[in-house]
Amino acid sequence: MTFSARLSLAITLVVVVALSVAALVGGPAARASYVMALENTLAAQVDGAMSAQRLRVDAVREEVERLARSPRVVAAMGSSDGAVVAKTAEDELRFALQTGGNGSTFVFLDLEGGVIALRRGAEDATRPIADALGPLVRGSDKTALLYLAVNGLVTEAVVAPVVDIGVDEQLGFLALCVPFAAPKPLELPDNSVLRVGLRVGDQVFGGDMPDSMRSAVASAFLAAGGAGSRSDIECVVAGEPMIAYAQTIAEKPLAQYVAVASLAGTSRAVQSLMVRLLIAGAVALGAGLVIAAAIARSLSRPVADMSSAARAIEKGDYTVRVPVRDRGELGQLATRFNEMGAGLALRDQYRRVLDVVTDPEVAEELLAGKLDLGGTSKDVGVLFCDIRGFTSLTEHMDPPQVIAMLNEHMTLLTKVAYDHGGVVDKFVGDLIMVTFGAPRGASDDAQRLAHCALAMVRARAAANEGSARPIRIGIGCAFGTVVAGCMGSTQRLDYTVLGARVNLAARLCSKAPAMSVYIDAGVMDRIESASVQELPPLEAKGFSEQIRAFELMAIGDLQALQVARGHG
């Protein structure tokens, strides 16, 4: 999976989870707060209606209480003549009856709740109210506010005990009854309508409510059971969710102001919030994906650059560089990468130079840090090869010609030496020194040494054919213990071998006739299938004893020769 895909997936997950959480938590929370706001509106509306009602009732109550103790009403009650009572009340209650508006009426009841007098001219409408009031007021000695549902209408009755204060005796009750007038429906900002009605018993009245609403709200409150003085319920009216808030205004019989409003607006608001949330989420997701792509691109491009550059370096192209796009981590990485490439190129260059100026095998060992700079004793084969008659050969030649000839000659011999696993130790003038067994030794060092010597002769002979200036070489080989190591000053070191065998090889080389190979006993002892001819013991400078030496004529089984390493 690409980095870009992973980043996109992560961002999508984050956005989806955040959206889901917002929807799961925010949706209900938003709805709750909308509902609460609506509830507050309902409660405020009911409070307002109740305040207005209280003001009205307080004024009426005061009037009714005053009249219920006034001498005229007491006198009328004492007369036992309903007509007198009715007439007196009609006069005395004139103002309250006018205030109550159409349908206002009054009722006089005796202590048992029996009717004494009704408003004249309104007996038919008043009698059911009086009959309903009777059982409710019986035994009471306090002013009460009662709401009665009679004939589908609600009557608000302020009932005061009629008391003869002259003897502190209650004579009965006076009730001023006014038809309940619900506040006008209120249009809410979301175009829904808030209706305030009155719940009496198990019915809801007023507020211009359709029958379906009244019955639905009434049954919802009924189902909600006994509630406190303030309660709210949710119900469904004709498929529309509604909320109803009730506040008790009178107990026994229970009367509650009820405010009803639709929750459809709330649902719409929540829905619209959800839609906006979704859109915002989609925008966030889109932006996130774009940013993810940009980030991924800004990450993947340098990575791709470095990847291909690394591949190029793997193939040996140390010149490749990656662009540094910024100063961030990747930019630093690119910088380091480029520095690494430059370092590798430099090392490669050093290696090439080293390979040229020193033997590749030695260079390798040196680079690998395997060479013991202090020098070690080991069995090594040493081959010296020089040109016979070099002075006379070159005395009429230009120096560049000499160098060109030497270079051609040394290149040829170097190749042969490398072909046989030899290490070209150094060139000294027309002489080339090759070692076998240092720095790395092998069991067939002597065998390869012998083959190498003969191969040099053959190669030179072959090169000489058709040459205007044939070069004739002599070769001396020795095998034995020498000191191998890096020698020289602290500033300049050479890996080389030193020892008597080296000198012996040099002596044998100088003794060897043109195009022949002399070997010492050390080589002789170590080679197989060789054809040699023992020479008479030789005197050699620096050697006190006579030296056994052999001329190597031929060596068999070249096929079996294991070339330890192959140079170009």
């Binding site: 005229r72 008391v163 204060i165 003897v167």
Partner: protein, 262 residues
Amino acid sequence: MCSVWKPFFTRRSARGIALFTLLCGAAAAGRPQGHAAPEQTSPAPATPAQATPAQETPATKSGATIRGTLPIVSRKRPQVKEYGAQPAITVEAPDAAMSVVWIGSGFAPIDGSSVPVQKIIQSGYQFRPEVTVIQSGTRVSFPNNDENYHSVFSLSESQKFDVGRFVKGEEPEAKAFMTPGVVDLFCDVHDHMRGHIIVADTPWFARSDSAGKFEIAGIAPGKHSVRIWVGPRRKLIEKEVEVQEGQFLEVDWSSTEGSPGK
């Protein structure tokens, strides 16, 4: 439920009066009109002493004498409103509770001019006396002795009237009470004021003293109805009594039990 106010004269009681009148009418018709009880001769305000002392020899008068005790119901403390008048008015205590008894019925109203005018004075923001008993036909005046307006009205079945408001010195004309019954008096300026006139269609009546004692003399022999008005609760009790010529009858009618008045 004895504390409940009962309508005074209902159709049934009216029928009872008619029956009684039939039974006793003939005997009564022969009696001199306006046979005055002792208190009728003494000027108002009436005092408990108006009841004839028991020491008086009953034999000096014709007819029977009944002496006894009426129920006295202690008055609840009446509620006195704050009238907010400036200067503040001082409402005096109402009279002690008294009851009234009258024996017999069916006498025609007397000629009001032949007897003194009874006065019910409005004084100390009370009707004085609170309870007055008169024979039908007697006139009553309502002088105002206070420094404020008073009014007198009644919505009682037997006598509805309203003399309106008046101040001291604006005494309305004396009013004759012809119909028997209890007339409750109110003042629509002062809600607490209560007065009662018991108009009896008989000359044999008495108002008790505050202990309930009373005495009525000169009662014609025979069987008579007895009505007791228990003030101030306005309970009415009906009884019957039979007396012989010259009899001195000692009765205890202090129980509020008994056949309730109708």
